[in-house]
Symmetry: C2
Subunit: 515 residues, 2 copies
């Protein structure tokens, strides 16, 4: 058994079922091993950012690590933005990246570059295979690193010759680190904070958002104590809808975020850090909680959020509650697709059990609240701010959950970073409905430009508008084997989403956003 | 004057005319400064790999550095593959990448990552702006680093607040390093090597390929001494055609490269290193010259190739010669587009003064030799092996040379990494004719898989074939505002290239490759 086969067999034995791949010459021994063993489903992406974004979406839904196979330092760089997003989501990710054979490294061949250096900024754990004998054991260390709590990004560099060489030894995964135990002192501090009569916000992230029971407990705590419950702006996955408890998110725009948090004198943190602005702006703070706000960490990033919340609910005597926050907007009538009409269309079109992928940026500002009272869904969002996550994230989620329709609410500018994912959706026959929110601009950047005090002139607007030429997403989709249509009416949009989600295979809807 | 404006003014004063950009929030002060000063032409790319690939193509043709503006570590990662290609080409590149404001760095905001770390594997020179006062001077150090001989990739990290802050001071560029002077001892060693009656190859790269006179001198040396002249497989730019001297390239496939170099007992190197295989293969050497081959370095990578060649021609008494190597193939008749017919079609379609961008990979194997006797062209190739350079390289070359038609011979699989470049071509009205060589496979990888001893089965072939679904490049182009057509006949292809190249604006031809 060669090194590559030992890795494939060990990953499979640990429970890995899918490998997202964009291989090159230095990974041919893995292609060969995957081919001979037929143990893993191989999902091909035409671009590496598709591969790692799909691995992320898969892992968020499958409860298994997302495994990718990439080609050398440039391939890893192409994958970097979505490795970054996955890392900020704390998604468990195992990325195998081929390198030149050890003996070939010193000669400055065209593709030679520092693979470990390219990995470091976008991974929590990086290692290089040392021998065909140790290769599988090192892959299993990567597995353990990735799947420990909280999830991590692990990159294992695979010199080509160690994959070819015989002597591979199948290996089991070492035990992964579980979450830190519930800290009873922290629970008591949180109880005291809630009892003090101060205005208190509970900010809960990570795994606390991923089960209905924990969210119901949080809602119960809010009802019992008067605290406000809130999630970070961007999260790996939120379970919501279907009449269950639903959690408010901290808004993105800095002024709105500051205003939202201004009333609070106490904050209790669960699997999240003190909230920070996406960017710094002249004359505005970086940290979003008021300076005088007292912070109690109920569970750290590495903690057991659900356990700590259960303990807190217990100690404050709060029963779980499950009511929606915002009632469903009226069904949209015929008319232009304003952001509000878009949100209403989604709220009424969402089928039970759908997965929503949210890279909607500006035009999607109303989507989240409007769907509080909609069908039961899993809500996945861009987590690291690196745009171009949506199409691949939807692809991977659909691979993980073939029986659940995926609806991707996708900003147009961001879609163009990883539009190649549509081809993988067609190839794999995935039920992904991509709704392109076509405002033909990097609309968010216009706000950002004003936020730094600029009054944009023609050259600035030329760098923020995407209207010359207009992008025709229906043609782009057709070019990759995905049928689609453009819709300019809100009622038609609702019906188009319903139809597409109820039919197998991918579909793209270009929604012309008004205003 | 704020820091951003001081940088823009200093770059302009040094001769920079174009900025290729994909900015985000942390670069808004640059967008503002570019807008207010209107000193540079801003060319927007929808993806960062388009931006740096276009900057590379621009620099290869303009004789000026390629300047890019990017957004934080994920944006730099997206740009990494084409920064890698530019670095291997030794193209002068200045990449400005925004970072969070200094005060914001410590808070782990969503987009926080190690920008300098992400830059290091793909740059020769990396620095971070220290203050608004020093910002322009540091940008000019980047300018000098990039434009010294041989060209380098320089990355300057721009914390957002240093761009906003007042106190910017316009700066001039320090003197850039010129090429090392001609080494008369090396010239004498080369003369002695040529006089010894051994079979000698002269391998010439870098700036030696960029003027007709130097190539004619090389051809004269070959005629006078019996040496064989050869260029590396991939080069920044070769000037050729129009009845001038033309240089053979070392072939890509390892067996063919070894066979080509096997006869030589002496090698003279000019602005290139000892040739190395793209990849290591089991049982085959990494270095391509025979082990016993004696190597004489006439001019190092940092040397003055043209000067050294002139001195050598002088000492061996060789007059310049200008004959083509390979006669033009017959005009293609009606029939399927085999690689040979494709090559003949290009040879007869090329207009005088065209720029050829060659990312043709397998299907383009015959293109280069078939155009030895064609019209005068500049030939630009993928240099670092990171696929996805073609569409942006063509874009940048067309920005540099608006009066010269650009013909991009483009493999289909590689095109999909940076297909977004078509939009920029439409936006800027560039005369780029993209010929997609549609074989619906990563054809080269099938050869690579066999080279490592595998007999590919269905899973392996599924990762190397792009036929499920078929990519429809005409629809993709239409989606980005570029007209196009699919062609299945060789004669029609020739005519289509001629027509497209003679008309303004971009056009895409999907050529169905047979066999």
């Amino acid at each position: 058994m060669n090194g590559a086969e030992s890795v494939v067999r060990s990953l499979h034995a640990a429970g890995v079922e899918v490998c997202f791949a964009n291989p090159g010459t230095s990974e041919m021994q893995f292609v060969d091993a995957l081919d001979r063993t037929r143990l893993l489903r191989c999902v091909l992406g035409l671009f590496e950012g598709v591969v790692t974004g799909a691995a992320d979406g898969y892992a968020r839904m499958a409860g298994k690590p997302g495994v990718s196979l990439l080609h050398l330092a440039p391939g890893l760089a192409n994958a970097g933005a979505n490795l970054h997003n996955a890392r900020k989501a704390r998604t468990p990710m195992i990325t195998l990246v081929g390198d030149h054979a050890v003996r070939h490294r010193g000669y400055d061949a065209p593709l030679t570059a520092d693979v470990a250096g390219a990995a470091a900024p976008f991974a929590d754990w990086v290692d290089t295979a040392r021998s065909s004998e140790s290769f599988a054991a090192q892959a299993m260390e990567a597995y353990a690193a990735a799947t420990g709590h909280p999830g991590q990004g692990a990159v294992l560099i695979a010199p080509a010759d160690l994959g070819w060489d015989e002597g591979g030894v199948e290996a089991g995964a070492p035990a992964a680190t579980g979450p830190a135990a519930v800290d009873t002192d922290a629970v008591e501090r949180a109880r005291a904070a809630l009892a003090g009569g101060e205005r208190t916000v509970i900010l809960a992230g990570g795994s606390a958002l991923e089960d209905h029971q924990t969210l119901a407990r949080l809602q119960g705590i809010a009802a019992a104590t008067g605290a406000v419950i809130m999630a970070p702006t961007s999260n790996r996955r939120i379970e919501r809808g279907g009449g269950r408890a639903d959690i408010r998110r901290l808004p993105y725009p800095i002024d709105l975020a500051l205003e939202t948090l201004a009333p609070f004198t106490r904050a209790i943190l669960v699997e999240t850090q003190p909230p920070v602005a996406f960017f710094a702006y002249p004359g505005k703070p970086s940290l979003l909680l008021p300076e005088a706000c007292e912070i109690v960490t109920l569970a750290g990033i590495d903690g057991d959020g659900p356990g700590a919340i259960a303990a807190l609910a217990d100690i404050v005597g709060a029963a779980p509650r499950t009511e929606t926050r915002v009632s469903r907007p009226e069904m949209p009538g015929a008319g232009p697709i304003t952001p509000e009409a878009l949100a209403a269309a989604l709220a009424h079109a969402l089928p039970e059990g759908a997965i929503v992928v949210d890279e909607s940026i500006t035009a999607g500002r109303a989507l989240y609240d409007a769907t509080s009272d909609a069908a039961e869904t899993s809500w996945l969002a861009i987590t690291g701010g690196a745009i171009g996550i949506g199409p691949p994230l939807a692809t991977g989620a659909a691979v993980a959950c073939p029986d659940r329709p995926v609806i991707a609410m996708q900003a147009d500018g961001s879609a163009m970073y990883t539009i190649q994912a549509l081809w993988t959706q067609a190839r794999e026959g995935l039920n992904v409905t991509t709704v392109i929110l076509s405002n033909r601009a990097y609309e968010i950047l216009k706000g950002e430009l004003r936020a730094v005090g600029s009054n944009p002139g023609p050259d600035a607007l030329a760098m923020l508008n995407l209207d010359r030429p207009e992008l025709d997403f229906v043609s782009l989709a057709r070019g990759m084997g995905v049928p689609g249509r453009r819709v300019e009416d809100a009622r038609e949009l609702m019906e188009a989403i319903r139809t597409a989600a109820s039919e197998p295979g991918p579909f793209l809807i270009e929604a012309a956003i008004a205003g």
